[in-house]
Amino acid sequence: MPAYDKVKIARKVSRPTALDYINHIFDDFIELHGDRGFRDDSAIVGGIAMLGDTPVTVIGVQKGKTMEENIKRNFGQPHPEGYRKTLRLMKQAEKFRRPIINFINTSGAYPGVGAEERGQGEAIARNLMEMIDLRVPTISIVIGEGGSGGALALAVTDRVWMLENSVYAVLSPEGFASILWKDAKRAKEAADVMKITAEDLYDLGVVEKVIKEVDGGAQNDFGFTANLIKSKLETELAELTAKDTDTLLSERYDRFRRFGEFKE
């Protein structure tokens, strides 16, 4: 399938959202709100829940399925206070030794006046720095769009997985094409050279697992993908939890340390 077709599936308004997965996979989800500094950002949902017998912290970037919902969720584009809420919840998870699971689905961090005034760059940077040191197992799953720094801010985790029809990129194919060829309409071509599909990123070692969806995308059989995620999470968390914390942290450091190609 051409990469751009995956982009279209990833952006589908009917595509299952973070809350869809959270509600299906976990029991007793209690949503926790706010960054304790400025306000609650509805583009981010998060809280505590049970995965089988294990208490976990779950966080997601939430898109809407209706215009009304999307306005409320700011189309899944978090503000700095959204990232600060995620950090608060992740530090809380660390305190209570809960594993952390992040569902990523954002075209990017919101580019706006308030976002800049309140330090969008600082908020993302802080997450990158803090997440590398969290003393609990962490897993992130790109379930739709993984847009740039706004996605990475939730993806500095022990494992990064992608759904088969999700994408993860440094910028959108449209943006890429308009820079390179001054023509946003060549997004399809851009998508091909950018290496943004789950398969490409698996080959590059950027993600550890690609999770299957039924033909046409997860919305066609939501239970299929959600159940797959659940069983993989259970297996993986058992493995990660068995590691001693220093090993976990040094492996996480190495996971990100190895990215980059150069000669000297």
């Binding site: 706006g112 006046v113 800049e116 440094v170 308009s178 050279v193 990100f256 000297e264």
Partner: protein, 318 residues
């Protein structure tokens, strides 16, 4: 269905606008020097010559974008400051190192590290090669060990003249190694940032450099060591969203562009013009995101004082 389409177009619109932000941020990463720099370079002068009506600037002169005075480049001095209006011109990494490190103290790391083409991106190698010839740099950062006011530290200086200081594998690796060296040798790190953001030719690998450098900065911080960033014009995109904003102390020069999203993207999103001082160092100081704005000529002294205040002993006296 109609409703669905409306929703969909709403989403497309938003995500395209968001993209535009990234476009702008990344645009800066394309190796097209800014207008004012165009005039600096004789090669570009030919180009502006065929655009008639352009004012002729004699060789060796430059027009100040701030006060419009035509200035002999020599009069900008070592610190590249307009003698008429005190505007700060961008400094390249070599000049910056000279201005900051004690004379002869800079011992550069990883001098021969250069880019490969991790995503087999068309023409990337060619672009790199031609920029290397033009700038004399291998890539967009210099790192090394030096002393400032006699006190040792690890210094990293980005160079906007090389692909707009964009963050690719080489920049990421050199900065990561600089942090790791500093952690091992219990030294402070000082980084002068200037960058248009991610290097799009390296795609996701560029994005991963943000995490990599931040991780190394975290380890350095965990060891109780000092990290100072000096944000210089421009510091945007992925560099702002990673190591630029992670200093224990964050300094900046006056009237420096610092931000995450590009101005045009934001204007496109909110459908209005932004004030001139938006995303300047003064704006960030007011909103609480940098510690102090320091005049260019005062930077070596201020940095030496900061090292002293963190008990960094003078070399040879430890």
């Amino acid at each position: 269905m109609k409703l669905l389409n409306n929703i969909r177009s709403g989403i497309d619109k938003i995500s395209v606008e968001n993209l535009k932000g990234k476009v702008t941020a990344i645009k800066d990463a394309i190796p097209v020097p800014e207008k004012k720099e165009k005039k600096e370079k004789p090669k570009k002068a030919e180009k502006s010559a065929d655009k008639d009506k352009k004012e002729e600037i004699p060789d060796g002169f430059i027009k100040c974008p701030s006060c419009s005075a035509v200035i002999d480049k020599k009069d900008l001095g070592a610190l590249k400051i307009c003698p008429k209006c005190a505007k700060l011109f961008r400094m390249n990494a070599k000049d910056r190192v000279k201005a900051i490190a004690d004379k002869g103290s800079f011992d550069e790391f990883d001098i021969n590290m250069e880019s490969v083409n991790p995503l087999d991106f068309p023409d990337y190698e060619v672009k790199i090669k031609s920029l290397q010839e033009k700038t004399g740099l291998k890539d967009a950062v210099k790192t090394g060990r030096c002393t400032i006011g006699g006190r040792p530290c690890v210094l990293g200086v980005m160079d906007s003249g090389f692909m707009m200081g964009s963050l690719g594998s080489v920049v990421g690796e050199k900065l990561t190694r600089a942090f790791e060296y500093a952690t091992e040798n219990k030294l402070p790190v000082i980084i002068f940032t200037c960058s248009g953001g991610a290097r799009m030719q390296e795609g996701i690998i560029s994005l991963m450099q943000m995490a990599k450098v931040s991780a190394a900065a975290a380890k350095h911080s965990d060891a109780g060591l000092l990290y100072v960033t000096v944000l210089t014009d421009p510091t945007t995109g992925g560099v702002t969203a990673s190591y630029a904003m992670l200093g224990d102390i964050i300094l900046s020069e006056p009237k420096t562009l610092i931000g995450f999203a590009g101005r045009r993207v934001i204007e496109g999103t909110i459908k209005q013009k932004l004030p001139d001082d938006f995303q300047t160092s003064e704006f960030l100081l007011e909103h609480g995101f940098i510690d102090a704005i320091v005049e260019r000529e005062s930077l070596p002294g201020v940095l030496a004082d900061i090292l002293k205040l963190h008990n960094v002993e003078k070399a040879g006296e430890a």
